[in-house]
Subunit: 208 residues, 2 copies
């Protein structure tokens, strides 16, 4: 039986980074991985906001949540994932209602970025904890631009440099729903409605 | 210089499929690729709606847009990407406003699915052209479940079996924005505001 693609299987949202910068030629491959991501009607509405100068980097770090600022400031490369919804297409239902696709598209592009980074031996840790208006302001992005994630990228570092509580999370097993919760085969079943949190709590209760 | 990951570089939204089914063990690897995708707070709100029985498959094909129904009905495997937003977490800005993440998460999971499919030698073509309420109904999914894409999956087939207009699209080059439009380095520039459509039209006008 074939194996899961290592670029997917080996990805972890680690928080320890080596101080070495990410070379420009590796950065370019990350951008190209985003560039080849598909979008409905080939809209390509996703943009990458890269903190290059020390000043912009400091401002971006200041825009992160308190919980992320400490560990993420050690990452040599910080990139925000953004999109201009007005550049994107919507999809229409038969009743005329429309579905927005920009966040979904930005997600596919981010999946590509994470897989390519993992393949290059990099840690790439996406964060949702940031202040969106502040990130927009850091880069001078127009008001209509939406920011979906800030990704901390770098080579893996020494786990022992992290605070104790983060060291434990760094080496914890990946916790996932069983596949029969994830996959609906022909007909939705009660377990497909169970959230991961609900599943995990039920498992813990069983184990006493 | 390292190369772009083949699982990303070789992906194309092709429309010709061989009749061979996708073996169960390959399907399972696709589901596992989705399973390992990251989500904020490990919410894992994405679900895969897989058409297995001929009846469900026919109903799902009927829910596709007219433009997709023809070619996509030749794909041996049809999978809808869904999410339950209530299972997902939101992220908060400093002013208390919240950002939804479910569509972004489903996108990352879809990126994983497409990369893994490409790695296995499969075509995986995501479609936005479908009627969302109909897809929900096909699988008996609860009202709150959102459907983001239907992905047509199978081994590549003979391009010559497609109608003429689709044959041309099958072999066309991948058109992408230049990287300096995609990437904002420290400061947003006018070209970052240009849509792909605007860029393409400007290029065509230059070439007369």
């Amino acid at each position: 039986m074939p194996e899961l693609l290592p670029a997917l299987a080996n990805r972890r949202a680690r928080r320890s980074f080596a101080p070495e910068p990410v070379p420009a030629e590796l950065q370019e491959i990350l951008w190209r991985a985003v560039s080849v991501a598909p979008s409905h009607g080939n809209s390509q509405a996703t943009r990458l906001l890269v903190a290059s100068s020390p000043d912009v980097r400091d401002q971006l770090i200041a825009a992160l949540s308190d919980g992320n600022r400490g560990w993420a400031s050690a990452a040599p490369l910080l990139v925000a994932i953004a999109s201009n919804p007005a550049h994107d297409r919507t999809a229409a239902n038969r009743d005329g209602s429309e579905r927005e696709l920009w966040a979904f598209h930005a997600g596919i592009a981010t999946g590509n970025l994470l897989a390519q980074a993992t393949e290059l031996g990099l840690v790439a840790h996406p964060m949702a904890g940031f202040d969106e208006p502040s990130v927009r302001e850091v880069f001078g992005a127009p008001e209509e631009v939406r920011v979906l994630a800030v990704v901390a990228i770098g080579f893996p570092g020494e786990v022992s440099q992290l605070p104790d509580d983060l060291q434990k999370r760094e080496t914890a097993d990946q916790q996932r729903l069983p596949l029969d919760h994830l996959v609906v085969r022909d007909e939705w079943r009660p377990e497909n409605s169970e959230s991961f949190r609900g599943y995990r709590d039920a498992q813990r209760a069983k184990q006493g």
